[in-house]
């Protein structure tokens, strides 16, 4: 994929970072405003496809590291499960750390809605990792088709085997 014109790259330089900030805002305020982990994660993951469209394949592969997104996915899933286990005296996924009306504040660092906003952050990590990895894998398949490298599958009756 070839890079687009200087207009698109300038717009990418200017506004792509604000897109990430907006996605993080949507994730962090998921318990108060419309949005949440999935929606904000999708907004943040849009950055990678924006980068790919604006700067083309070469810059994309130089910039991206698959391990980072795999790590984000792993951290999100494990944190989600751990936050679910926090309510275990009562039941799985019970929100035992939330502070209801007139309740006592356990710690200054805990958000009032308890595991709801914590799970928002965890699911946001997971969705960012998953959608970015999908974009990376599907664009990488394009590269594999160009070079004809192996993609698994059955041998013997591929087009490229003849």
């Amino acid at each position: 994929m070839k890079p687009l014109s200087v207009v698109v790259t300038s717009v990418c330089d200017l506004f792509a970072w604000f897109m990430i900030v907006f996605g993080v805002y949507v994730i962090n305020n998921g318990h108060n405003t419309p949005g949440g982990g999935f929606q904000g994660g999708a907004i943040v993951a849009t950055f990678l496809s924006f980068m790919l469209v604006a700067y083309g394949g070469k810059r994309f592969w130089a910039w991206v590291h698959e391990g980072v997104y795999g790590f984000l996915e792993f951290v999100g899933l494990v944190a989600f499960f751990v936050f679910g286990c926090l309510g275990f005296p009562n039941s799985f996924f019970y929100n035992s750390v939330s502070i209801p009306e007139g309740g006592k504040v356990l710690s200054e660092w805990l958000p009032y809605s308890g595991t709801i906003s914590l799970m928002n952050v965890a699911v946001g990590f997971e969705v960012v990792g998953a959608l970015s990895l999908v974009v990376i894998y599907m664009y990488g398949s394009l590269r594999m088709i160009d070079t004809g490298a192996g993609m698994g599958g059955e041998r013997g009756h591929d087009r490229f085997d003849r």
């Binding site: 108060n32 999100g76 679910g84 799985f92 996924f93 502070i99 799970m119 990895l133 594999m144």
Partner: protein
């Protein structure tokens, strides 16, 4: 020929769907709303979450969301397995 068959089938199917929609409750008046009313009332007072949908996704029905995350992870690993570089042509 194929299109005429499909149009006839579509008319029949549309009629059946409209008949089916007559059988459910009229638009705007849902029935059996006790559970939803309970959640609307208790989302803020019990859980301190203003966004009722988020409090439902992550708290009242958290197990659904765990399955959803599992589905997303499964789809991701399926895409990765389809396009993996590991083959390297033997």
């Amino acid at each position: 020929m194929k299109k005429t068959i499909f149009i006839a089938a579509a008319i029949v199917l549309g009629g059946l769907l409209c008949e089916m929609f007559e059988a459910i409750h009229p638009f705007g008046i849902p029935v059996n709303t006790e559970m939803d009313d309970y959640i609307l009332v208790h989302a803020l007072s019990d859980r301190s979450a203003q966004n009722v949908v988020t409090s439902m996704v992550f708290d009242f029905r958290g197990f659904d969301t765990l399955g959803e995350a599992a589905v997303l992870f499964t789809a991701l690993s399926s895409v990765g397995a389809l396009f993996r570089d590991g083959g390297k042509r033997e």
